[in-house]
């Protein structure tokens, strides 16, 4: 059904042709205008503008890559003639002109811009950005963000991602709290905050990678949290660490990395956590199984989550070999609801040690609803044999090695 003389492409719906052009470097997209009269106007109403390095750079006389002034002139013209809305704009480049980008963002603010991705080194977000009331998704990398005095928030913002950006604690807090529909917040490479404070009635998902000394979350709807710290923070009091966990007590999914765990485990001797994680169903945690404190902390966490269904543990080992860790203190307490709803446990990178055995044994004998235990990267048949000899509380439970 492919006749040689059949024009395949020009009769595609306009929106589809625009989608194809969006995937081309801007120059090539524009050149399609001369293909035929049907293509002349497609580009002019393209709903997305993605500026890539290859678009805005040119070769100088000494073969260096520099910003092309002709590109800037051209984009100015584009913004003038473009008709309709521009819903998505992205620009990541090593070279750029602040004034030009300021102009373009101002124009975008009048073109119903919804999604914006800017990755420009130390670019100061212009006033036009803060006036873009239609923004729903914002991702900024390496930018500087300073809220204007009269900023009232992005009333339609749903997702916010800041990576390696410069923003003060105060402005960050205001940015988040003034966006009434913000659901997803992602902070990467954030290392300057003393107090990370987030107040949002709408926030559902929070991802953090960086450092903070203290955290305060006033987020009643927060369901999924992922916190990865760069390095453990020394010099902290246990009570503040408990506060850290306290503000996470209503989440449904918790994902924390080893540095955060190390911080939390510094609480000294086994202190049963005075917090109940009433809604927590999934935990992803990175622990050193050979370290008694971390072992106990993780069990504390599990014990405080009566509805816990799925656990993922990524085991890591430190240089010091601790004495054999045991879970005895927990099995003795019959009032705890440890693992009552637990269905699956997945452990990665576990070495075939006594501590590991002790942990898995605890799971097997306490979890009435257990369906499977998945262990990866263990190739000790001795270990597996010992495991298979443990009497499981849940008859359905399977141990899977992969």
């Amino acid at each position: 059904m492919e006749a040689k003389t059949f024009d395949l492409i020009s009769d595609l719906p306009g929106l589809v042709k625009e989608q194809i052009l969006v995937h081309l470097p801007i120059k090539e997209a524009i050149r399609t205008r001369i293909l035929s009269s049907k293509w002349r106007h497609t580009w002019v109403s393209i709903p997305e503008l993605m500026i890539r390095n290859e678009d805005c750079l040119t070769c100088s006389k000494n073969e260096e890559l520099i910003l092309s002034t002709k590109f800037i002139q051209f984009m100015d013209w584009v913004f003038q003639v473009h008709s309709g809305s521009i819903l998505k704009f992205s620009m990541c480049s090593d070279h750029f002109s602040s004034r030009a980008v300021d102009r373009w963002i101002l124009t975008l603010s009048r073109k119903q811009i919804q999604q914006i991705f800017i990755g420009l080194d130390r670019y100061k977000m212009p006033s036009g950005f803060f006036m873009s009331h239609t923004l729903t998704h914002v991702y900024l990398e390496k930018c500087t963000v300073k809220l204007p005095a009269k900023f009232n928030g992005f009333k339609m913002l749903r997702e916010l991602g800041l990576k390696y950006c410069i923003i003060s604690e105060e402005h960050f807090e205001k940015l988040v709290s003034s966006s009434p529909f913000l659901e997803n917040l992602s902070l990467e490479l954030f290392n300057d905050f003393n107090m990370l404070r987030i107040c949002s009635r709408s926030l559902r998902k929070f991802d953090f990678w960086g450092e903070f000394k203290y955290i305060h979350l006033d987020t009643p709807r927060l369901a999924k949290v992922c916190i990865r710290k760069f390095i453990p923070t020394y010099d902290m009091r246990y009570s503040s660490l408990v506060n850290d966990l306290e503000c996470l007590k209503d989440v449904e999914m918790l994902d924390i990395n080893k540095h955060f765990v190390m911080d939390l485990a510094k609480g000294g001797s086994i202190n049963k956590l005075p917090i109940k994680f009433e809604k927590l169903k999934e935990i992803k945690i990175e622990i050193n199984v050979e370290d008694q404190k971390e072992f106990d902390l993780s069990l504390d966490l599990f014990r405080s989550a009566p509805l816990l269904e799925h656990v993922w543990i990524k085991a890591y080992s430190s240089k010091t070999i601790a004495s054999v860790v045991s879970a005895n203190s927990f099995s003795a307490d019959s009032r705890n609801y440890l693992f009552e709803c637990l269905q699956t446990v997945s452990i990665f990178n576990l070495s075939a040690s006594e501590s590991a055995l002790s942990l898995i044994q605890l799971v097997l004998v306490s979890a009435p609803a257990l369906k499977k235990v998945v262990l990866s990267k263990i190739n000790s048949s001795v270990f597996f044999n010992k495991l298979s000899q443990i009497e499981k509380l849940s008859k359905e439970a399977q141990i899977i090695l992969c």
Binding site: M1, E2, K4, T5, F6, D7, L8, I9, S10, L12, P13, L15, V16, Q19, I20, L21, V22, H23, L24, P25, I26, K27, E28, I30, R31, T32, R33, I34, L35, S36, S37, K38, R40, T58, K70, F71, Q73, F74, Y139, E159, G161, K163, N184, S186, L187, E188, D207, F208, W209, C226, R228, D255, N257, K284, E286, W312, I313, K314, S346, F348
Partner: protein, 185 residues
Amino acid sequence: MADNGGKKITLKSSDGEEFEVPEVVAMESQTIRHVIEDVCAKNSIPLLNVNSKILSKVIEYCKKHVAAAEAAASKASTEEGTAAAASVTKPSDEDLKTWDAEFVKVDKGTLFNLILAANYLHIPGLLDLTCQAAADMIKGKSAKEIRKFFNLKNCISPEEEEEIRRENQWAFEEEKRTRAFDAYA
């Protein structure tokens, strides 16, 4: 993949062939999802704009992506390094990307029919993938080459062409330098 015998739905192509698929796979299409959720599912959904050859490819795509999503969800993600953000690249993404790249290695006619189907059925991932493939076919080609490749009817007058070149000078300039041998007749 969870093969728990979930609800199945029948999709009927424009040329009368029927395809039974799990509901979750069919729901990759937002158009079909609307029909199932809002119009209260019938057992068989006729798709008048998609023929059987294309529909079977579309179903193949949806099945693969549903399976990949399920596999990713059951894997641990406590990876050192990047925080899980909207821009996360899951470990299985590489395999899926390779599969996607192979999936679009089809003849032009099929590709454009896939684009139309993805548009009609509202399957964003497939539309994006196929449009990228079409863009890749355009990339690097001169206007003459593009016209030839896609059998475009060149119904544009030389005056109009000259006007567009002038207007968009920047876009055509470098091309002249590097492709001096190409004639735009």
